[in-house]
């Protein structure tokens, strides 16, 4: 099954998918009646490597904390009771969970959508920063995929740059899987849109 068939004939049921054709049970704010999500994209899992490494380091750090403190000649553990040390440990693992959870939701909610009417870029840039940008398909002027670097080539992910006549002149889909197929699909949707009558949603 080629990629075009995968996009048009399958319905992704995986809520954590980074390349989800026609995802089931997913909608978005301001979705119009009859508007279908054709592709839902997230950053490739390989881009999570630094975050996963950080979480693993935070997780294993308490196992080496005793030795590190001895090396630094800090004898704080001797002055603390068992329960006090336990509280510190509980807090540490809560903090580790918090970091992992934050990294996860940061990845999970940074989503790019291709619908049969427009492209949508939902950005979750920080704890207090949420941004959503839309561009209608008939405003798209140019689409160019780009794969850069060893990891991008090896895992087949990269950026898709979309020039538009919308309020936001350039959309960037960062680190998405199969950027060439994504670009091809956007262009195909643009061609479909051009054939439709103005205002028609199909």
């Amino acid at each position: 099954m080629n990629i075009e068939n995968i996009i048009h004939k399958t319905h992704s049921k995986n809520p954590f998918a980074m390349f989800a054709p026609q995802p089931m049970g997913v909608a978005f704010e301001n979705q119009e009646k009859g508007e279908k999500i054709i592709l839902l994209l997230r950053a490739h899992l390989a881009t999570l490597t630094p975050a996963v490494t950080l979480v693993i380091l935070l997780f294993v750090l308490p196992f080496f904390a005793g030795s590190i403190l001895v090396l630094l000649r800090i004898s704080i553990l001797e002055t603390l009771s068992f329960f006090q040390t336990l509280w510190i440990l509980v807090f540490w693992y809560l903090f580790t969970f918090g970091v992992a959870f934050y990294k996860f939701i940061f990845w999970f909610f940074n989503v790019y959508l291709v619908t049969n009417e427009r492209i949508v870029d939902i950005d979750f840039k920080g704890l207090l920063h949420k941004e959503t940008s839309y561009a209608k398909l008939n405003q798209i002027q140019d689409v160019s995929p780009k794969i850069i670097g060893f990891f991008g080539t090896f895992f087949h992910y990269g950026n898709v740059y979309i020039q538009t006549a919308a309020e936001k002149p350039e959309f960037e889909f960062h680190n998405v899987e199969r950027p060439d197929s994504v670009a091809q699909e956007i262009l195909e949707q643009v061609r479909h849109e051009e054939k439709e009558a103005p205002g028609e949603i199909a």
């Binding site: 809520p15 603390l80 509280w87």
Partner: protein, 92 residues
């Protein structure tokens, strides 16, 4: 003569009675650890509430099948954070 006067003006204070040493004794390791832990936990509680609010907003912007699970996790996260904060204040 001058030396004696100087000695009278600044009498030698035993180490245990010195104000500085008394202060360092009072701020012992346990007290410092507890203070830092409470401070971090207060900040962490704010962080947990912000994450909860952000998840609420993002689930509104992009409803997915796991949105209820994420909301539940964020709520549990706040609950556990508050429980640890109270536990540390009460029993550390």
């Amino acid at each position: 003569m001058r030396k004696r006067r100087l000695q009278e003006r600044s009498p030698k204070v035993p180490v245990e009675e010195n104000i500085f040493f008394n202060l360092t004794n009072r701020f012992d390791a346990v007290f410092v650890t507890k203070s830092f832990l409470i401070l971090f936990l207060v900040f962490y509680t704010v962080f947990a509430f912000v994450i909860y609010r952000q998840i609420q907003l993002m689930c509104g912007a992009l409803p997915t099948p796991i949105s209820p699970l994420l909301r539940f996790l964020a709520t549990i996260h706040i609950g556990i954070t508050l429980a640890i904060l109270l536990g540390v204040i009460g029993t550390f």
